[in-house]
Symmetry: C2
Amino acid sequence: MKVAVLGFGTVGAGIYEMLANAKGLEQGPVLVRPGKDDAPFKRTSMEAILAEPGVEAVAEAMGGIEPAFSYAMAALKAGKHFVTSNKALVAAHGIELAAAAREKGVGFLFSAACGGGMPFLHNLSIAVESDLIVSLGGILNGTTNYMLDAMQRRSLGYAEALSDAQRLGYAEADPSADVSGLDALRKIVLSAAVAYDLLPVEGLCHEGIKSITAEDVKRIQARGLSCRLMAKCGPAAGGKVYAYVEPVLFPASAPECSVLDNYNMARYEGKCAGPMVFMGQGAGRWPTASAVLRDLDCILKGRLHMLSPACHEGSADNAACCHSYYVRLPSSMSGCFEAKSYSESDGVSELITKPMSVKAMHELAARLRGEGASLFFAAVED
Amino acid sequence: MKVAVLGFGTVGAGIYEMLANAKGLEQGPVLVRPGKDDAPFKRTSMEAILAEPGVEAVAEAMGGIEPAFSYAMAALKAGKHFVTSNKALVAAHGIELAAAAREKGVGFLFSAACGGGMPFLHNLSIAVESDLIVSLGGILNGTTNYMLDAMQRRSLGYAEALSDAQRLGYAEADPSADVSGLDALRKIVLSAAVAYDLLPVEGLCHEGIKSITAEDVKRIQARGLSCRLMAKCGPAAGGKVYAYVEPVLFPASAPECSVLDNYNMARYEGKCAGPMVFMGQGAGRWPTASAVLRDLDCILKGRLHMLSPACHEGSADNAACCHSYYVRLPSSMSGCFEAKSYSESDGVSELITKPMSVKAMHELAARLRGEGASLFFAAVED
């Protein structure tokens, strides 16, 4: 099967190179920006890609929503299989892409969009055929895991940890989607679509790691705890799902704490299969390209879809998910929380809240920040 | 697709029940022993199973090599897909079964035979299509992991840990294949066949946990280490593979030490994808049945094979794998090893050897035991 590649950056070039040695697959043309067509296999328009004889599949690695979405629809309408590592694209247009693929009888897979090298969505999509998914989630963003790990094991400050991650190529020049939790949120949205036939587009909550400071790390470590950025999802009442991203504090013996550097850990719990955990590199040229190649192999062998025809857009509801939170905030605002433990030093308070809903915590944090508060919060794993 | 089930024990009954709710699959007849056909869906002969109208696939969960092998060949020759959780069967006859399946254009998958609920072989078989597998292995036997964990975290003796495992249904009435390491060895043999097109039938080494005592556990813990039974495999010179099972001592911070109870951890490292780790329940009714159902779903979607046509029987070679070992043995025999550290108490010696080959260690242990020595050894993870 000849595969065209859209984009020739880190991931696109990796896909192109891996195609040379993959069984059953062959290198097709590569779409690049005008002026960048410095090799005979490069093309500068989507029309030229689709006009190329023998191309049966298109692998997209451009990133961004447009023109990736237009190109994806053009490829599908031309009867080409479409595989992507672009989580923003699938979170925004997954349902339309899946419908277009079904209409033409071609494949649409996006394993690489969640967990990079880890075959998480692939296995989840198989598990749902015969098992019920009780819950899913994990450490889905390698950049923030790298930063949290560097702050905790190497005592770096936030800015240092970020520039380290950028130097190593783990963080984008604009890291805002990573550090805000939005990247992990998009991944959990895709997982919800695969596991629960519902792609949540509202009611979601996400808190990243932008508020954590070196002092917070010291305070957390003094409690014998360690912080990870976790994405969580599961079924909620009324045919909805819960789906959110937030920092979580774990005891040092928790398996999450053994996820170091830029590694990811994704997990689902099947009613029959029990807990199933995947660990690997969530990003980077070769891990991501490997995931795209695995999807292409699936299409070659006949597995064409990850989203069922029943999958639809809908709402998340995080009002029924309750746990305690660790909150660091100005002492003047500590009265806004019902605390079960409390300490204060130099005008800064640390407290552990009584169990409260994810929705309430995220809303309250937004309100207090709107009032000018510097505040960090993290769920406390019981 | 209507699926017949061979065997109605723990796993067989689980498969039958899960078939009732699996998309695209339906319950077929079940083969039971003569006299046990107490329900209309039960049959007592393989002929009756194959004569049943509409059966397209057969899932075997009887265990043992015969009559499972004869039944498998009969099913394949009758043009039925064949799926099994029986590692002894596939380790002994995998090549013949794969050839028979290809000849008839039907599927032969055995994910559940290695790692139970974990989709290890499935993902490995996809990874090899586009990536090179640098190494693979892990904690592949839940019974021995349960026992080692109970001896180390709960200070049980060996006999107590074993009877606990039997009471919980983790260990068979005859646990010899588990505690000798043979069960884990069979699983690593299957993994080698998938990853390297070579099913090793000789040159293998396996050491289980039969020699470990409560005193050994105390001595290991005094060193700040923890013991796990590890299976390891990778490419070796001359088109061979290395493949062995032995206890390994890890520092407490190693991810292997977070694998508790009867959980398994399997790992492969792809040249491109990097390290990929799977954790889950390796055995038990529902995890194993889930794995069988996933294989059936793969067949339904068109993925029919885990073994390539090039896969053949061959030899393992463990002479080039070298590391240090911890050895506990009678002091009178300690001169048989080149030690880099040594201690002695009451006629019992503990030593750390200089790096030596897996083959040499296993052979020397066999020789010394032949001379009557009580001896425990474990690799030391550097």
